[in-house]
Symmetry: C2
């Protein structure tokens, strides 16, 4: 080729953004496409939902992040389709030709076809759903403060969180702290010991799959200490907005269901007529190339690849970022006519927080929990947040919360 190769990257999440940065010095022209104008620090989105952080603290404009990258254009657009044969990406605004395509379209909430839950529950997949969750949660306390029927008030103050993975565990722990440490002070006339946070997980353990047994047990212990009721081995099958139905037939009167129990690929990926693996993820070669289309790389939640033990790689930011770096290296190599290498995930460990002062961690092969894990979690998350100013403000917020048991963003902004 004489002209400069054009790399199109779909998605400005952890994978897409990292790929764009790693190609900054490559002899290519990059177009990064996202339907939003910002990169979202997804792991802290639950903090927006429980009024701990404001959206601006976990989101940063893509143009501001990549402002100095000369070989990149950003296009805010929804991708409507991909013509792999003609090497074209179709968007609502224009069609782009590519020489390389990096598909990093991410994932969304999976309700497994349960319409009553999809309609009435709250999830946390983007800023607007997290803000809607925050508004709903806070409104429940306003409603409860006016409610004279004791039974009905208890149902207003019952919060069911579904899914015992990191998002569910972190949300339940943080919500329980919000209620018992912060909102009790806002509502001195109400007895918030009436309020209940119930975490429901269908399997035998919290943090199923990846976490070792002792951390699963530690998670359970910490959550119970934080006044969260944990229900294992039972699923949620319906929610009409007033009552949660469990898989064993039991019902829980509650006006709030937070759904964190399922993830599926983005609708763009779902529409593509190619071979899919479990969860609708696209089956890729060990090099992360799409079979039959060596110029297409798929990374992050959109890609299905197994590790050496035959386990599928998890939908984690660290996986997406490592794959992004790998793809950038492969493209660099191909431009110098070297063949692409297979990807191998290097597990950096696991880390999840359960409210203030408590977290569970597996780092360097060692599992531990408690304050030290929490301090590592805080430090790492602040460090990973994009933008120096954000980091500073998040740190101040958290320091404030820590010392004063306060929580700032208690605004009901939509009605």
């Amino acid at each position: 080729m004489n002209r400069i190769p054009h790399v199109v990257i779909i998605g400005a999440g952890f994978g897409g953004l990292e790929a764009a940065k790693r190609l900054a010095k490559a002899p290519v022209q990059i177009t990064l496409i996202d339907k939003r104008n910002y990169h979202l620090f997804q792991p802290l989105l639950y903090q927006v939902a429980i009024a701990g952080l404001s959206p601006v603290q976990i989101a940063h404009p893509v143009r501001a992040i990549l402002r100095r990258q000369r070989n990149l254009s950003f296009l805010m657009a929804e991708v409507s389709g991909i013509d792999f044969k003609a090497r074209k990406v179709l968007t609502e605004h224009k069609t782009l030709d590519y020489d390389y395509l990096i598909l990093a379209a991410g994932s969304r909430t999976n309700f497994f076809g349960m319409e009553s839950i999809e309609k009435n529950s709250h999830d946390m997949k983007d800023i607007s759903s997290a803000v809607a969750t925050r508004n709903h949660l806070l409104k429940m306390f306003e409603n409860a403060s006016r409610e004279t029927n004791e039974e009905f008030r208890r149902s207003i103050l019952t919060f069911v969180v579904v899914g015992g993975g990191p998002t569910g565990v972190e949300s339940a722990g943080a919500l329980s702290e919000l209620i018992h440490l912060v909102l009790t002070k806002d509502y001195p006339q109400m007895d918030l010991r009436e309020a209940r946070v119930i975490l429901v997980e269908a399997s035998n353990h919290l943090m199923p799959n990846v976490y070792p047994r002792n951390l699963q047990a530690a998670t359970l212990k910490i959550l119970r200490r934080k006044q969260v009721s944990v229900r294992l081995r039972v699923g949620v099958t319906g929610f009409d907005g007033e009552c949660v139905t469990l898989s064993n037939g039991e019902t829980i009167p509650a006006q709030t269901l937070i759904w964190t129990a399922g993830v599926r690929v983005a609708s763009l990926i779902e529409q593509l007529d190619l071979e899919k693996g479990p969860g609708g993820r696209m089956i890729v070669k060990p090099t992360l190339q799409l079979p039959g289309y060596p110029e297409v790389y798929v990374i992050g939640d959109a890609a299905y690849l197994e590790d050496e033990k035959g386990q599928p790689l998890a939908m984690l930011a660290t996986v997406a970022q490592q794959q992004a770096r790998h793809v950038a290296r492969n493209i660099h190599g191909e431009l110098q006519e070297r063949p692409p290498n297979p990807f191998r995930y290097k597990d950096p460990g696991l880390l999840a927080t359960i409210g203030r002062n408590a977290a569970v961690a597996r780092l360097g092969g060692i599992s531990f929990s408690g304050l030290l894990a929490w301090l590592i979690w805080v430090g790492l998350h602040i460090y990973r947040l994009i933008g120096f100013r954000n980091r500073l403000i998040v740190m101040l917020n958290w320091a404030w919360d820590y010392f004063f048991y306060d929580s700032q963003v208690r605004l009901i902004t939509k009605e």
Copy 2:
């Protein structure tokens, strides 16, 4: 009376909040009603619209502000009517009896019946409209970045601000700076010298009425230096979303109209069948009591009262706050069987900012403009913002903006 008198305050704006605080030690029981759960620092709302501040930085939950006040209950509710004869406040949730009523219902945007403007323009009266304005403004730059038709692109990049009062002047100045100092860096491929901010004011002067002539002239000079086109002696009569029509028949192709040219009382006040003054404000006695209902006080934007020169008191936070203090004193007095005193406004001066480094001020009878006025403005506004943490974060934000010409909240959150 043997029982404790019940004071109902409608509105948690500057007036209502101040009245509630000043009655903290009075032998009364207070119910403060607002349809929102937060107090809004309205004078900085335009900063949310131009992506300078995040909503949480200018809003604070009422319950958090008044948490330590033992004689107060907060009720988040919309007031549907007032029965002055029966001394009852009707809300969507319940009806409250009162011994004293303080009406501090505030104001809203006045479009003077021009439906095309009401439908297509943006205003800044609450958080959601300010966030909608921010999203719209930022989306214009994304649209422009994709637009190849030069003429159409110019109309996308034309921003018309209507109203030469403080909000219009501050918004136009800040928007021009956002474009020429910040967004030029986000859009290196676009020539943002194409972008125009046009401020339209129907009278002969910017900052009409209250400001002295030399400050009106200084405002004009500063705005022009900041690349704002100022059009005086012409009104806006229509806007279909693509073209602004002026009162002289001229048209300006533009996709953005920010309307700051009119204020009218809240709909609650409008519905009341009592004697109204200009702007629909309720005519009150010099003691701020409602004629015929001595137990009802009206303060702030809702009240119409003239000063000793026969000029109506302006719709300003300082007026509302002074009136709130006065009413609290009057109620204190009445409880000790002293007659209420007439209100006299003590003018603390005027202060308006016009973007970075520039403001106009009249303090202690002296008029001045420039950097000193701006520093006073920054200090005063940070001091007046509620909550220590907010203050610190706003200060850090502004310090950052000042030194790095950056502006943080450039998120398009609604689509």
